[in-house]
Amino acid sequence: MTQQETIDLVCRIYDELAPPVEGAPPATESTRLFGGALDSVNVVTLIVEVEEQIAERCGASITIADDHAMSRQRSPFRTIGSLAEYVQDLMAESTRA
């Protein structure tokens, strides 16, 4: 999966989870995960759903939210773009392993 495909996947899940608001712009790479349209429970849902869909599409079993992610200097959960980047790293690691 390319970086762009991962971004598209996260954006799609984000839009699905966000409560429908008339005229709200669709999510983009720079959309913030926290403090935006999603409450924190929905952010957790989004993360788990990304894991599931990656597993279904690529057969790669990745865990996004773990101690490793939480202890990084910069949180991978800032924006859709940073999350997608982190997911790409995890997928690369899982194919190397």
């Binding site: 924190s40 849902t45 788990v48 599931e52």
Partner: protein, 449 residues
């Protein structure tokens, strides 16, 4: 004088009446008395000493019941082990320090296994010294290790001396379960009849109810769910049912509502019991209500921090393999979370199964109840899975009726739950599973991941 003379006096007044129906064949109280005395003679012949610890292996059957009663009279400590124990049989026999294992067969022949060991457990020895028969029940152990509760059989039977309504009962609950034991002695002490079944699937159970005009069905919410899902009630005449009782786990409100509509003339009653304490007396507010009054003359109950505590006049003597769970005054923390309204309580779930999402409580039963109302969802089990962000996330395991992909089911679940549950209760993860989500005891299997 034998321990069960009072019970045999009841049998003698009903010699020609059936006490058991097994494989569609009736067995009378006269037959039962005869077979009990054969078992007693057999024990003497085998050199079985009073106070011996004996495992009784098998499901409900006429020979099994006769052997059980004869063992009580022989002052044995009885460890019933039904087939649902599965591969843990050996482990359980070691915990209970079983000296002899008997497996009665249908024709009265039986397998006997002897174990060279002297009981070392203080509780067992104390009971044996008292000259009373004992009963060892293993807690179902959905979480953690099974605990062995040792009871003095005599006080446990005391309440059956009060006459109650004579009924024909389906032995759905297992003989090694406090509910199964309760069913059996309820039947026998009121000269009723127990109808045994080999399979506990909805069609077999319904066929037996129709054929033998069963009046009382003591069962679990899981079975009642299966009954609704299978629509087996449309294939059999179940009009003989006067009373349906459910216990052992939380009843989904949707199941109860449907059931109540389908069986308007049957009383639907919640029961409550624990391997450690026996069965409490209970009274549902009405057949469609999950509010229930529990207690009775032999029990004191109180709610502390949202949990039900019970003090029983005749509790178990203790666990054979764990410290005593009672406090100094004899109260037991049941681990069952309840809501309270005057004299009535409503069971919310086990504390050990409660999901904690970012400090907020989610009861699996509440979420399952919503999921079960959806189209194309046959069964749902909700549990918590550890998550570094919120502590736990809510995970739903779903059985679908018609094939449907996971994403589509998850999407529908989100839509459906959004308007019915607080956001943190909506399942974050959805798994589609094929197999049954319950064990041999027809009780949901939930594990905190």
């Amino acid at each position: 004088m034998a321990h069960l003379d009072w019970l045999y006096d009841i049998f003698k007044d009903h010699l020609a009446a059936p006490c058991l129906v097994s494989n569609d064949q009736p067995f009378t109280y006269e037959w039962l008395l005869e077979i009990i005395s054969q078992w007693r003679a057999c024990f003497i012949q085998m050199g079985l000493s009073p106070g011996a610890i004996v495992a009784l292996q098998g499901d409900f059957s006429p020979q099994m019941v006769a052997a059980l009663l004869a063992l009580i009279d022989h002052s044995a400590v009885i460890v019933p082990l039904s087939p649902s124990v599965g591969p843990q049989q050996q482990e359980f026999m070691e915990i209970a320090e079983v000296q002899m294992a008997i497996r009665p067969s249908l024709d009265g022949l039986h397998e006997v296994q002897r174990f060279e060991r002297e009981p070392e457990n203080d509780l067992s020895r104390k009971l044996v010294a008292r000259g009373h028969p004992g009963l060892v029940l293993f807690s179902s152990g959905s979480t953690g290790k099974s605990k062995a509760a040792l009871h003095d059989f005599i006080p446990l039977l005391g309440k059956f001396k009060t006459p109650r309504r004579t009924m024909k009962v389906l032995t759905f609950l297992m003989i090694d379960h406090i509910g199964g034991m309760n069913t059996l002695f309820y039947v026998l002490s009121n000269a009723g009849a127990a109808v045994t079944i080999a399979d506990r699937d909805p069609d077999s159970a319904c066929a037996a109810i129709e054929k033998h005009k069963v009046e009382l069905l003591p069962t679990s919410p899981t079975f009642l769910n299966l009954l609704l899902m299978s629509e087996a009630y449309t294939r059999y005449d179940l009009s003989s049912l006067r009373l349906i009782t459910y216990g052992t786990e939380v009843m989904p409100e949707s199941t109860l509502t449907k059931l109540h509509a389908l069986f308007p003339s049957a009383k639907i009653q919640q029961t409550y019991g624990l391997s450690e304490l026996g069965i409490l007396r209970s009274k549902s507010q009405d057949s469609g209500s999950l509010w229930v009054k529990v207690g009775g003359e032999d029990f004191d109950v109180k709610v502390r921090d949202g949990t039900l505590w019970v003090k029983a006049r005749t509790a178990m003597l203790g666990y054979l393999n764990a410290p005593s769970p009672f406090d100094e005054e004899g109260w037991l923390d049941t681990g069952d979370l309840v809501e309270q309204n005057g004299d009535y309580v409503r069971f919310l779930g086990r504390r050990s199964e409660m999901i904690n999402v970012g400090g907020r409580k989610v009861y699996p039963a509440e979420v399952e109840n919503v999921l079960l109302q959806m189209e194309n969802i046959k069964d749902a089990t909700v549990r918590g899975e550890r998550n570094p962000i919120t502590g736990h996330i809510v995970v739903a395991r779903i059985n679908v009726t018609e094939p449907e992909d996971r994403t589509s089911v998850h999407h529908r679940i989100r839509e459906f739950c959004r308007s019915r549950l607080e956001p943190y209760k909506v399942p974050v993860k959805v798994e589609i599973v094929e197999g049954n989500q319950f064990g041999g005891r027809y009780k949901k299997t939930r594990r905190l991941g």
